[in-house]
């Protein structure tokens, strides 16, 4: 068997079980590819020794005959996940050298299932960004290229997206606060699902905006997303918002049969100035679901327009509170102090040196909207608007809509550095189609559905009912089958 790194999780699982391949072989194939892919800057911390140990243990377990689906599967892990004894920096200078004494629940769940960690993956600092350009490690690069221009893999899970699209690993973990799984998945032609808020434990994942953050898998196809999501989620007493409900066998729900399902097409997602190609992709996707037997229904989600502004109050407010812990006392970076500097100078200098510009800006915006006199006008108003955004979704689901189809992003991947001079709001617009889903706590999946005229991948997003990831994955599976997206980036790195 050649090119083991290109296998899907499902194919690797089947080959492992048949004894056609070992996890050690899969792992070496991936490690070789990781080594040769420095130009992508996707992997930022090497855990190859650990990977080899885990692979060996997985092979033993597979020989035993009752190994779970993820056993022996080599993965990349986003740097936002705390991994015991391994650098976990959230791509920030303020966590320089931080090696947790504990393991995040999601990575523990994956390791319990026998998965192998190849290394830690690049991302935007504290998951704040849509292009992977705010990382202390420098940008991750999209394996898709046009005219020699280096493109962003999206963000914040940019390293995860780049690594999976370039076949450096079989799959990767991501996290999604406003679109950070789905937007990079769309930019790199892979699949990414953000489950319902509460499906995956947040314990041990560096917090950005706790009421919005969710982990999820980034994979080569929908079946892999189903397999890996199941291994990641489950109730965790260490996260008080973790849902204590059973996790179904998501893969078994992939029948591809969506006859009679009602798919909503929200008119508010038809934005002014939307590129024709995105418009066409969306229409094509709609036609595919219709051909597969679904009923297409025009719906309205009237508060859509206010989702981004509400998000840019709520997320920075929560971030300013969450990131208050980085004070130079317990972990990470501490500034060198001058004679006479007290504790306040220590805090201020440490945070000025340790946090990058975008993170500082969001902390300060959050501080402002929570400050006396503005709390009601900004923060409370945004939370009320959030209630209305969620209500919009509840109303269409109550009317019998099973899933909602939208574009995943307003454009294909853009060039690295191209947005440097744009104002921050321009960058925030990347999340215009994805952010509503986090505000409403719903599951959302991005599926690659076509190429634009430059030859870059474009994704469609499906939004599902809360806790119905299985049904959502099945609709995504039907879309995937119909779209038949098989394009891969040409290797240049």
């Amino acid at each position: 068997m050649t090119d083991l790194n290109k296998l899907t999780i499902a194919a690797a699982r089947d080959a492992l079980r048949k004894g056609d391949v070992t996890s050690a072989e899969l792992t070496e194939a991936c490690l070789t590819r990781v080594e040769g892919a420095g130009a992508l800057n996707a992997f930022v911390h090497d855990t190859s020794d650990l990977a080899r140990t885990q692979a060996k243990a997985a092979d033993e377990r597979i020989k035993g005959g009752d190994a779970p689906a993820m056993c022996g599967i080599p993965l990349g892990i986003k740097d936002l996940f705390c991994t015991k004894g391994v650098e976990s920096q959230a791509a920030s200078g303020i966590l320089d050298g931080f090696k947790p004494e504990y393991e995040s629940t999601v990575t523990q769940n994956l390791f319990d299932a026998g998965a192998v960690m190849l290394g830690k993956l690049n991302m935007d600092e504290f998951a704040m960004g849509s292009s992977n350009e705010t990382s202390v490690y420098g940008y991750a690069v999209n394996p898709w290229k046009v005219d020699g221009r280096e493109l962003t893999p999206g963000g914040s899970s940019g390293g995860s997206a780049s690594a999976v699209a370039a076949d450096l690993c079989l799959a990767a973990t991501g996290t999604d606060t406003g679109g950070s799984i789905r937007q990079p998945a769309a930019f790199t032609g892979i699949t990414g699902i953000k489950p319902t808020y509460g499906r995956c434990s947040r314990w041990g994942i560096v917090a950005f905006a706790s009421s919005l953050d969710q982990a999820g898998p980034m994979t080569k196809d929908v079946r892999d997303a189903a397999i890996m999501l199941e291994a990641m989620c489950g109730h965790d007493p260490k996260d008080s918002t973790s849902a204590d409900i059973p996790v179904p066998d998501f893969e078994a729900m992939l029948t591809g049969d969506i006859k009679g399902k009602v798919i909503g097409i929200p008119k508010e997602y038809r934005m002014d100035g939307m590129p024709e190609e995105i418009e066409k992709l969306w229409a094509d996707g709609t036609a595919m679901l219709k051909d597969a037997g679904a009923e297409i229904r025009d719906i309205s989600l009237p508060h859509t327009k206010y989702a981004l502004p509400a998000y840019y109050v709520i997320a920075p407010a929560e971030a300013s509170s969450n990131l208050a812990r980085y004070d130079g006392v317990r972990y990470g970076h501490r500034a060198k102090l001058e004679q006479g500097d007290g504790i306040t100078e220590m805090y201020e200098k440490t945070r000025a040196e340790g946090f990058g510009h975008e993170v500082q800006r969001r902390i300060m915006v959050g501080t402002y909207v929570l400050s006396a006199g503005f709390y009601d006008a900004y923060y409370n108003r945004a939370r009320k608007v959030r209630t209305l955004i969620k209500r919009d979704f509840e109303q269409v689901f109550d009317q019998g809509v099973d899933a909602i189809l939208t574009p995943a992003t307003p454009s294909a991947a853009f060039g690295l550095g191209e947005m440097v001079d744009a104002d921050p709001v321009q960058m925030y617009l990347n999340d215009v189609f994805t952010v509503t889903v986090n505000l409403a706590g719903l599951p959302g999946i991005s599926v690659p559905a076509g190429l634009d005229k430059q030859g870059l991948p474009l994704g469609l997003q499906l939004i599902g009912r809360p806790w119905e990831e299985g049904d959502l994955l099945n609709t995504a599976y039907a879309l995937e089958q119909a779209a038949g997206f098989v394009a891969k980036p040409e290797k240049w790195w």
Partner: protein, 95 residues
């Protein structure tokens, strides 16, 4: 609502992030761009709407109020920039 240099300085102070004086005007301008964007929320009729506290309607779990973990001071201190004699060390706080 427009943020001036003084307000930007005050916010930076509250956030405990040192911002040099010459960087304040640009920072104030960035705040104004973002807040200008956020201002749209003023258009929404939120009369009688409850602010969201939890996105999934679920009661927080309760547990016995007892110690479940502990007794590992070395692990707690292992990442500290400055730890001495079993404690985090910081600059003098009380004169």
């Amino acid at each position: 609502m427009s943020i001036d240099k003084e307000t930007a300085a005050k916010v930076a102070k509250l956030a405990r992030i040192r911002v040099e004086d010459d960087a304040l005007p640009a920072l104030a301008e960035e705040f104004n761009t973002i807040l200008g964007f956020i201002e749209q929320l003023g258009e929404v009729d939120v009369e009688g709407v409850e602010p969201m506290t939890s996105v999934t309607p679920m009661r927080l779990k309760r547990r016995e109020d007892q110690v479940t973990e502990g007794g590992m001071p070395e692990k707690v201190l292992s990442n500290a920039p400055d730890a001495r004699e079993g404690f985090f060390a910081v600059p003098k706080v009380v004169e």
